[in-house]
């Protein structure tokens, strides 16, 4: 995949943003020397990019993240080094924006700087199998809420439709119609489809572009 300097991942919670952010960072690190993941979730204290800290450190990927993420301190807080995302223009960053529209408010703080530099993709992660985004209308509604909260318009869509371990190739292929409907309604391209690694070979000739992902380890 071709990356801009900033790749911003937004979406309904549980759509798979963090897992994609982690896998994208691994991919991006193969292309570039200085890579960071920025975890700006101010809502959910669980299932954070920080759970993959060891994997980041092994690959020389920097984590920009609140000290309280994945801790017992249930505090909405921003990372102290937040502004290195926009100030350090030699750094390529995957931004993991959790927590729906409320979470996207935090991103709004960086809006002017991000749009002025204009080297970013703002991607909406969608999953047809999540209860509040089962169709194009409801999904675009969530998109609009996020855009309204952070002030940055989306530039593309990532189809991450999955049922966790139970996902079949057929589920993913069927979800392409949904992704196209979201695309038509929002006038935005589907820039990527993501699947668990074990489905990659079966689907790589049928879906373009496709990314196979290792699942982020759960804390237990």
């Amino acid at each position: 995949m071709n990356y801009k300097r900033l790749t911003i991942l937004c979406g309904h919670y549980g759509s798979g943003k963090t897992n994609i952010a982690v896998n994208m960072a691994f991919d991006l690190r193969m292309q570039r020397e200085r890579v960071a993941v920025a975890d700006l979730d101010i809502v959910n204290p669980y299932f954070r990019s920080k759970d993959s800290l060891k994997d980041f450190e092994e690959r020389g990927i920097r984590l920009i993240c609140s000290d309280f993420a994945s801790s017992n301190v249930d505090l909405p807080s921003m990372p102290a080094d937040l502004y290195s995302i926009t100030d350090d223009r030699g750094l390529s960053v995957i931004l993991d924006i959790g927590g729906d529209d409320r979470g996207a408010l935090a991103l709004g703080r960086l809006k002017e700087l991000i749009m002025e530099e204009n080297d970013y993709e703002m991607l909406m992660v969608i999953n047809r199998f999540r209860p509040l985004t089962p169709d194009a209308e409801s999904t675009v509604e969530v998109m609009r809420e996020i855009e309204y909260a952070c002030g940055i318009p989306f530039s593309g869509i990532i189809n991450n439709s999955n049922l966790a371990e139970e996902t079949t190739a057929e589920d993913v292929l069927d979800s392409m119609k949904y992704a196209e409907e979201v695309s038509a309604l929002s006038h935005l391209p589907v820039v990527l489809t993501t699947v668990k690694e074990s489905l990659y070979d079966e689907l790589k000739d049928k879906i373009h572009p496709l990314m196979g992902m290792t699942l982020q380890k759960k804390p237990i």
């Binding site: 017992n72 199998f129 999540r130 209860p131 509040l132 999955n162 049922l163 966790a164 139970e166």
Partner: protein
């Protein structure tokens, strides 16, 4: 395409409640159950229901009391410290024989504790939660699918027996995501001739109240309530047994502890140790029969809990102390891993393997 959807445990409870006909939710946010309130806030206005974030847990439980009096399906949800605040309301609901669904997605305690998963509200839930002689029906899900299934079941039992059902989950059950089928056969809601729905000048007033000024009368209410509890103990007890028929070592565990224990049983069997698991699904009424039966042939029980050992007392009572009962536990938000449980099985079995 699969007819399943990918849900968090908390979302599964919320959606199942809506499918069960619940149109009134009152609550106050607390981790790790906030997604229930967030889901209701999004969904209720779209289906003509009422989501209301109360000023406190105490206000929320009393709103539940009001709607239940009017005969409608109603629920609230919270986590451990918030459920303690609801204690007075739970007792008033019991004293007024009102049905309701209460969800407790437990976190570590006591006090404000932490936000990691726990099962240390077992005593509080199975012994009532508030003051006075009463019980709640306590349901303990061990998967996201069961979070949904037992929510529907909880409303049905609450209406049938005019009492509170509680979903007693833990933080992991609330937060984990699994595929769920929401294809339920919801039974039609039963008539509630006692509800305060307006007399239309055609009947006597219905009065919902927990105050009794005549002690003889109050005693009679308590007797009748306990007659009903006897029927529930006979008819509504639920549990799952796993490889217990020939088991020497029988584990007792519910919720996330049961999932860990099942893995440990499999590992023990591979080593040639005859281990098994009894998983209570109703914590009240507690499934006494399988423990009594297992005590006939097993060498010992191990109660696996995310607490300092609470269900262990019921295991001892149910097995009538005929075999030793050991504890394998973590507390304060920690979860025992399968290895800890396996080590415990090996030790209790005599350490020969």
């Amino acid at each position: 395409m699969s007819d399943k959807i990918l849900m968090k445990g908390n979302e599964a409870i919320a959606e199942a409640a809506i499918i069960a006909g619940c149109r009134h939710y009152f609550g106050y946010p607390i981790t790790p159950q906030t997604e229930i309130a967030a889901y209701m806030a999004k969904k209720m206005p779209k289906i003509g229901g009422c989501f209301l974030q109360a000023e406190s847990e105490i206000a929320a439980i009393n709103m539940v009391y009001g709607v239940s009096s009017a005969g409608k399906r109603v629920m609230t949800s919270s986590s451990s410290p918030g459920v303690s605040l609801k204690g007075e309301g739970l007792s008033y609901l019991a004293g007024s024989d009102l049905p309701a669904l209460i969800v407790n997605v437990q976190r570590g305690g006591p006090g404000l504790g932490g936000i990691q998963p726990s099962q240390s509200d077992y005593f509080q839930s199975t012994r009532g939660g508030g003051h006075g002689d009463y019980h709640m029906i306590v349901l303990a899900p061990a998967s996201v699918q069961e979070m949904a299934d037992l929510t529907v079941k909880g409303f049905e039992l609450a209406d049938t027996y005019r009492m509170t059902s509680m979903i007693l989950a833990d933080g992991t059950m609330g937060q984990m995501m699994e595929p769920v089928s929401l294809d339920f056969d919801v039974k039609p809601e039963i008539e509630k001739p006692w509800a305060t729905t307006g007399t239309k000048m055609a009947r006597e007033h219905n009065i919902v109240n927990s105050l009794s000024l005549v002690p003889e009368e109050l005693e009679e209410f308590n007797f009748k309530r306990y007659d009903r509890y006897k029927v529930i103990e006979e008819n509504e007890t639920m549990f799952e047994e796993y490889m217990t028929e020939d088991a020497d070592i029988v584990l007792a565990a519910f919720g996330i502890a049961a999932r860990v224990s099942k893995n440990a049983v499999d590992e023990a069997r591979k080593m040639g140790i005859k281990a098994g698991l009894i998983r209570p699904i109703t914590l009240w009424p507690f499934p006494k029969a399988p423990f009594k039966a297992a005590a006939e042939h097993c060498k010992a029980f191990i109660s696996v809990e995310l607490s300092m050992g609470q269900m262990i007392e019921d295991v001892k009572l149910a097995s009538e102390c005929r075999r030793p009962v050991y504890l394998c536990n973590r507390a304060g938000g920690m979860i025992p891993d399968p290895k800890q449980v396996l080590d415990s099985i090996i030790k209790v079995n005599g350490g020969n393997n």
